[in-house]
């Protein structure tokens, strides 16, 4: 029996070996499906206001209740998943691609270029991503696309740092020197030997950081500087319900619960993927 078979078998049984991972994956996939098919799943229009049904507690007609405008919270939560996932995905994509470029450049160049890039990364890292995103929003303005850019830019720092660390580790490996001995051009060495060994850890980072991006974007909306009302965004909904939290707690609690559940699910999925595919954690085989 070869190890290839082993690996294949391991992949098949990962769901059996990691019940929490499986559960979290089901939840995350459920969110994604609900987001994609939101118009079909949601019982109401997320922005339809019904002044006859304002601030109703959860009931048969409105399973999560209604808010102060009479909008159905369940529908808004479902549509909110759309925004949360879109923002999370594209923001991380911007951060990962930007981080890959900056990190590769910093790790492979030397001298003043590396120094300059490192100081750039440090300056991005010096501020928490939320503060940085606030600063970018202040420059860019509000809106979903602006939030994506702001959150994405603020995540370049951490991505670049990990990519550079991986590049420093990979570029001194023997197989890179061996490729140099074969007179393989430097660009090809980077593309064929360094990049693949950096991309995998980066992909793992991406799965972990999507939840952070969603959290930051929700925080922006909560602060009232992210997406604009009446977009059904979770952070916005939590902020709107804040004034009524003493007698209509469901208005903030339902989107908050949806947000927390998604973040936990994504973190568990990310951790599971990392433990499964990161050779450093896999132990010596």
């Amino acid at each position: 029996m070869t190890l290839v078979d082993n690996a294949r078998r391991g992949r098949r049984s990962i769901f059996a070996r990691r019940p929490f991972f499986t559960l979290a994956l089901v939840v995350a996939v459920g969110y994604v499906l609900a987001a994609i098919f939101a118009p079909f799943v949601a019982p109401y229009d997320p922005v339809a206001q019904d002044f006859n049904a304002m601030m109703q507690p959860p009931s048969g007609a409105h399973p999560m209740g209604t808010d102060s405008y009479g909008q159905d919270i369940l529908s808004r939560v479902i549509f909110g998943a759309r925004y949360a996932l879109i923002i999370g995905f594209f923001a991380v994509a911007i951060g990962a691609i930007g981080g890959l470029i900056v990190g590769l450049a910093a790790g492979l160049s030397g001298g003043w270029a590396e120094w300059a890039l490192l100081r750039l990364i440090d300056s991005i890292l010096a501020l928490p991503s939320l503060i940085l995103a606030v600063a970018f929003i202040a420059i860019l303005g509000q809106g979903v696309d602006k939030v994506v850019i702001a959150v994405g830019l603020s995540m370049i720092g951490p991505f670049a740092r990990t990519v550079r660390a991986d590049v420093l580790q990979v570029r001194v490996q023997l197989f890179v020197e061996a490729a140099g001995l074969m007179a393989i051009p430097r660009a090809v060495i980077i593309w064929r030997h360094i990049l693949p060994n950096v991309i995998y850890p980066l992909a793992v980072q991406v799965t972990i950081r999507i939840s952070e991006a969603i959290l930051v974007s929700s925080s922006l909306s909560f602060l009232g500087i992210g997406v604009t009302p009446p977009t059904p965004d979770w952070g916005l909904m939590i902020a709107e319900g804040r004034a009524f939290v003493s007698f209509a707690a469901w208005m903030s609690a339902m989107p908050g619960f949806a947000l927390a559940l998604l973040l936990i699910a994504l973190s568990i999925v990310g951790d599971g993927i990392r433990e499964e595919f990161d050779p450093k954690l896999r132990g010596k085989s």
């Binding site: 070869t2 190890l3 290839v4 690996a7 490996q173 023997l174 197989f175 020197e177 061996a178 490729a179 001995l181 074969m182 007179a183 393989i184 064929r192 030997h193 693949p196 060994n197 995998y200 050779p279 085989s285």
Partner: protein, 350 residues
């Protein structure tokens, strides 16, 4: 300039000094030179097989890096077929194609994200050894030649055992049809049967393809099996060279004798090891660098540093750096050279 054919590798008084921080100074910026190689003279002829033997820290790997053009010598000349190695390497792919390397850490020298097939195909493609459609067939041929099944091409190095990974590394080194194979401890750390298989393989390849072989090892048995010439290194200098059989049966340098006696033999107690550790190259003893550990040390050994010179009491093909070389063993006396080629060593004209 020597007359053609020129030696494949020719080192003349090569020195390699690394600048290291002064020991004991954690914050200081003062550096001192560490002589990893101190006046190495060596010449490897076309088709020869040379074993470089020495303890850890004797400069074997540094010498290898100089031979491959990875490090430039600080002083002296390192030539490849008559031209400076660094210049030849910078010129283009010819040197890279002609001189192949098998690393000690074979697994580390193979990209873990590439299949065995892709790894072996890389040099084939780089040097356009065969036309693109024939690459798959050539990979299979190379795998067969090193004794691996052809279906190994689809696997990743992580799925292979230590011995198999060495074979892949050897197949990859042979892919470019090199004329020189440089191997760093290519069989150490393997179990004996795998070692024997690989050694037989290397010897067959060397005979079939007419490879020039430079083989670093600390195993005298391996050296005597695979290589006709041997060079014993101690503290950055070659202390004795000559035909392997002659050197091992009748060592002229006390260090060679000590190395030979230190190898475990059947039914015999292990000989008394050499006293002390190999000294730090930062703090060389005065006179002969082996004087501190030499069992036959004499007063003038602490005063004069012997140079590698043709052995007076033995055949012309042997050189030794010792003021008081051992007498030839009876019966092993002046040994006729195993191969009629010139000595692997050029002696100082003094």
């Amino acid at each position: 300039m020597p007359t053609p054919p020129r030696p494949v590798f020719e080192l003349k008084d090569v020195e390699k000094v690394f600048q290291v921080r002064k020991p004991g100074q954690r914050f200081g910026r003062k550096t001192v030179g560490l002589r990893a190689l101190d006046g190495v003279r060596l010449s490897v002829e076309q088709g020869a097989s040379l074993a470089l033997v020495g303890e850890s820290g004797s400069g074997k790997s540094t010498l290898l890096r100089v031979l491959l053009g990875l490090d430039a010598p600080t002083d002296g000349q390192a030539r490849y077929r008559g031209r400076p190695i660094r210049a030849v390497r910078d010129e283009g792919a010819d040197f890279a194609r002609d001189v192949a390397m098998v690393y000690q850490d074979a697994r580390g020298s193979l990209n873990p994200r590439m299949t065995v097939g892709a790894l072996i195909a890389e040099p084939l493609r780089r040097f356009a050894v065969v036309p693109a459609p024939e690459i798959g067939a050539r990979v299979a041929t190379l795998l067969t030649r090193v004794g691996l099944p052809a279906d190994a091409a689809g696997r990743y190095p992580a799925a292979l055992s230590g011995g198999q990974v060495r074979r892949v590394a050897i197949a990859r080194a042979l892919a470019s049809d090199p004329s020189v194979l440089v191997a760093d401890e290519a069989v150490s750390g393997l179990d004996v049967s795998t070692q024997a298989q690989l050694l037989t393989l290397l010897r067959r390849l060397q005979q079939d393809m007419g490879l020039t072989l430079v083989f670093i090892t600390h195993d005298l048995g391996v050296a005597s099996f695979l290589c006709e010439q041997i060079a014993i290194m101690y503290l950055g200098r070659i202390v004795e060279t000559g035909p392997t059989d002659a050197v091992l049966t009748s060592p002229a340098h006390p260090y060679t004798a000590a190395l030979r006696d230190a190898a475990p033999k059947f039914f015999e107690p292990i000989a008394e090891p050499l006293p002390g550790e190999i000294p730090s190259p930062l703090d060389l003893p005065s006179g002969c660098r082996f004087s501190g550990r030499c069992p036959r040390v004499q007063p003038d050994c602490h005063a004069r540093d012997p140079h590698l010179a043709r052995s007076r009491t033995r055949s012309v093909t042997r050189s030794v750096a010792c003021l008081h070389p051992l007498a030839p063993v009876d019966g092993a006396g002046p040994v006729a050279p195993a191969n009629p080629g010139p000595a692997p060593e050029q002696t100082r004209p003094d």
